[in-house]
Symmetry: D2
Subunit: 351 residues, 4 copies
């Protein structure tokens, strides 16, 4: 099988770099183009990210010599992975979809559009149907799919497992989010020495509204789930890995083992299909009292598993658990690659 | 007026050092004795804490030459401030109270005793009455008062303000607690690099049970408050200052201004009496979106004010706020000194 | 005596904020104007620095209501403290000096000018004479004085003490510099998690060239000192306080006590004159093996003393010591205020 | 070929864990035994390190079920890798060698023994000859080889390259060492918040004395090299990776390219023999101004390469470079495994 050519948009940013890293040796996709802003256009990729490559020691060799382009109308690619900044992502992604490209985006601009799936492959794979509405509207085979915000993804996966099994009431979540979630340069070190930063603009609203769309259903249109979430978001001095402490009302007074098993046994379409980026276990349960921890648990399942620990029942009668997910893999680049794999499996890409 | 002689027990530990620092120049109390373990006994205080003095550059001069003693039965002091480790605090504090000393303790051992006040001077000053029960039991004028756990104190003060004004339902709180709360050496740096530590043994239970006692009333015995709190406690890489993100059900749908004003205007007995360590405002409201922050807000009111920010109403209908308190001042040494000041004002000390 | 009116240029930046903080209650100087860039002009100072005030919890009340101006030609001030960014400092400072103002600058632009003192009040007070050359050239009473780069200052003070007493050969210095030295937002937190940053552009050259001017003499022109310094500069995750590990060749094989005493006993003109910002001891020697440490030693002498520790003789025959100085007080704002005090004492300001 | 059975001594500590990790899938060696202190004896390895396994998310499966033993006289192994604490390593290692075992130790106890090689396989492979002296003395085939202290190793490798090519004079080195170098729990987090720790007891002396032995030659006895090194050692808030800033006198005024090439082209016996743990390049030169950095460079060559950057000539005429090495791989466990591989290649193990 020939690989499907994929372009990365916003390839020099934090999420763009993850796309490039994760596409190395991908069995289905081949990185054919890297697009970025005018200042990078024309440079070798390795030169364009010099001093800004922040994932590991070196730019992967396979991508180093690709000539970076601006987001020009014609790209040698079928599908585009977008890590574009939200200040420009809206129009550019729309332009490409209108020209027949398939766009899997990490940007927030189109997440709440009425015919754009806000997709986590394990959580709402049936939402892919909405792309047909888009194709109809656009009168071509182009469309946009989006993945949610990083802190939403880490929460929505365990919530989905519980939502399917139990009657869920109010959810309260406090996040301790990693530095890389703010991009580069992002947070000032000045603000992080001996400190916690208590505010991530827009984040708390996204957790509530995005989750309602994700956990909702699609029937010729999105029907939002009736779930209410209050979030309080913090930035802590951790490189990668968002930790979220979750308080949740669950009806029927299930015992802890039932709740744990429900989380642990959660499997979904990507696991059934054996998609290349799908983790064997979407949720990994740790039973130690001192887990999950960002440094130890963020790479579980190649960064695609959500690690849940300290599942317990509170004196209030609610349930409490703590979850940890890699914010730029499961919570961003890895999620949109997996989404694209799902779309391919469903016959929407590369047929 | 002659100053009242005060001894510090456990004077070489993290809380003990704060006592020594805060007693410098105290208008009512005079540090007359410092007690610590056998290994420190006989040394000058400055020598006993060499390499372990962790508050500032230098041991206060006024205390440097005090000869450290073991916790011997007779001390040249009327009242004792105890920062003893809980492995020994129980018996030693009891011994001193039985010998007629007044003990204001930060240790957890006697907190839940049926005739021992678990006291935050602003929150439950009427609980001081319980010491009369103790005096009766002990047949002398000795007694023990305790202050709650650091994370409980930071939460109980704003809860009290709300509890007096509104009908309060369930409370969920996630803490991000400072390193100094674990004492010295306490947390390993190995565990804190690029990490959040998700578990503080016993802490979550204390927040629930202690708050019920504190917010309860005293009528010839403690009647626990009917309040339910679920807590999730974390250690973050911050030196001083516990941040707590609180979700709370408040009946009657008050508007945010009402909630804020209730917090902001909270005053209590220590303010009325003008106690030396009482902050002018027990609660300071910050209106900026990026406050409170540990580094900036922990020293508010000389470390005795709780700083509350980001008061808001969540999509769930609950209210959310974030509070910050200095864990070794408001949450420990400062609290027990203020408690002792209250007892003195009430005529129980030094008459 | 009426206080001398002083304006702060670049008042919203990291150094500008320190000027504002340090001028509170200054016995000789009164903050009369705050100048900053166009975007801040017209605002109350407290509003101009909202979200950017990084020193402590709150803007000092005395300065909060001052209306910020651009660097307009006429200011209600005799002397100007400049924390301007080097991209604009050169021309603006020159303009003010040409209009008769006295400028004490922390910016690098005029440091190496042939008639501008590069001044550390304790190290080269006799260099103030150069301002007469400037007055002659400008044909008015305006002039510029500058203070060195922060890492140079912390090193030059102990070097001066040794230079006066011993025959000094090669100097090697490795710095571990604080985050605040890069201004705000300055260093990205992304680069500082679990890391040391190995390069501070231009810093190593400044240490060498500035020290030669500072330790040189002035005789109708600057004669540079014949001292050679190799520097290697790093940024570490510390808020304030530059640590420098120094290897130095000293002739005559003095014993360690002699070297320590020479450092410890160093006094200079500011101490003799009792200048308001002069620390009692320019150099404080610590004898503990684990000092100096940034967190404990940066505030010594109100941030104006250099703390030196671990003075020792190496197997190479050279001497080694480690010094610590507060980079935005001794190394920046405090230094230029002290310099201005020296100029006033010499009759160059406000007569 | 059957694999050689290897035991790890001190298997629950920081270095012991690295041995276990690095031995997974080793082509020549097979982990047959794990020894630790009494408190761990009898437990499965996974249980013995529960809560103390600090390298990655999980204990390698292959080792999880090995039953931990005390350091009993008879082990089912030919060679022993020792990460024992120096308080016990001396006697235990001697006991095993006397019983005919081959011990490759990371502990400091026997490093300076007159017939024990202090070995870095790339630097002084010819020192292995000394084990014959030991065998003679012990009258069996047992012997001890040791690897140097972690900060010594990172420095000695580039020094060796330069020492072979140039005439080397005085060396000054300042280290910024990682937290993991202090073991677990090791450094208190209390001491590392907003701080640099200026003292690592014994470290500075080891750098000097060990390097003299390593760079010396062996001719029926060790002849120490005539090299003088002054070191100043710091602990910084970095997990893994020691950074060292080196000032060195080099005779003959070579140009920078010559120095760089000499470092870059350094190859030695382990590379010639293709030993399994030998990095392709013992020294990797980075040309970017902002390298080496601990987070990016510590894993170069699977943690076995030393990364050198910022090679430059100082105003003093000396040369300056900065090097970075993984302290628990190249600087500890990886080094002693490679040493053992060298011994095997030379026919001293497993024949």
């Amino acid at each position: 099988m020939d690989k499907i050519k994929v372009a990365v948009l916003g390839g020099t940013g934090t999420v763009g770099q993850r796309y490039v890293q994760l596409l190395e040796g991908h069995p289905w996709f081949e990185l054919s183009e890297i697009c970025a802003s005018e200042s990078s256009a024309g440079k070798r990729y390795a030169d364009a990210v010099r001093g800004r490559w922040k994932i590991s020691a070196d730019v992967p060799e396979y991508a180093a010599d690709i000539a970076v382009k601006e987001c020009i109308p014609e790209l040698d690619a079928v599908a585009l992975l977008s890590g574009l900044d939200s200040s420009v992502a809206g129009d550019i992604e729309e332009m490409y979809a209108n020209r027949g490209y398939i766009v899997s985006s990490n940007s927030r601009n189109h997440r709440m559009d009425p015919d754009v799936p806000l997709l986590i492959a394990e959580v709402n794979p049936e939402h892919v149907k909405a792309v047909e509405k888009q194709m109809e509207r656009r009168k071509n085979s182009g469309f946009i799919i989006t993945n949610p915000n990083c802190s939403t993804i880490g929460l929505a996966i365990p919530l989905k497992a519980l939502y399917d099994e139990f009657s869920i009431g109010k959810v309260n979540v406090t996040t301790m989010q990693a530095i890389s979630g703010a991009g580069y340069p992002g947070m000032s070190a000045f603000d992080m020495v001996d400190n916690v930063h208590p505010c991530i603009p827009g984040e708390e609203e996204k957790i509530q509204t995005e989750t309602q769309k994700i956990l909702g259903c699609y029937d010729d249109g999105f029907i939002y789930a009736d779930i209410e979430i209050a979030a309080s978001c913090n930035r802590v001095f951790v490189l990668d890995g968002h930790k979220e402490d979750v308080f949740i009302e669950i009806g029927g007074d299930p015992d802890i083992e039932h709740v744990q098993k429900t989380l642990e046994n959660f499997r979904s379409v990507p696991q059934d299909l054996g998609l290349p980026s799908a983790p064997e276990k979407p949720i990994i349960i740790r039973h130690e009292q001192d887990r999950p921890q960002p440094r130890y648990d963020r790479n579980a399942g190649n960064g695609m598993s959500v690690v849940v620990g300290r599942v317990r029942k509170a004196p209030t009668g609610d349930y409490v658990f703590e979850c940890l997910s890699h914010n730029t893999i499961r919570g961003a680049a890895g999620c949109s690659i997996l989404n694209l794999e799902l779309l391919k499996s469903c016959g929407y890409v590369g047929v």
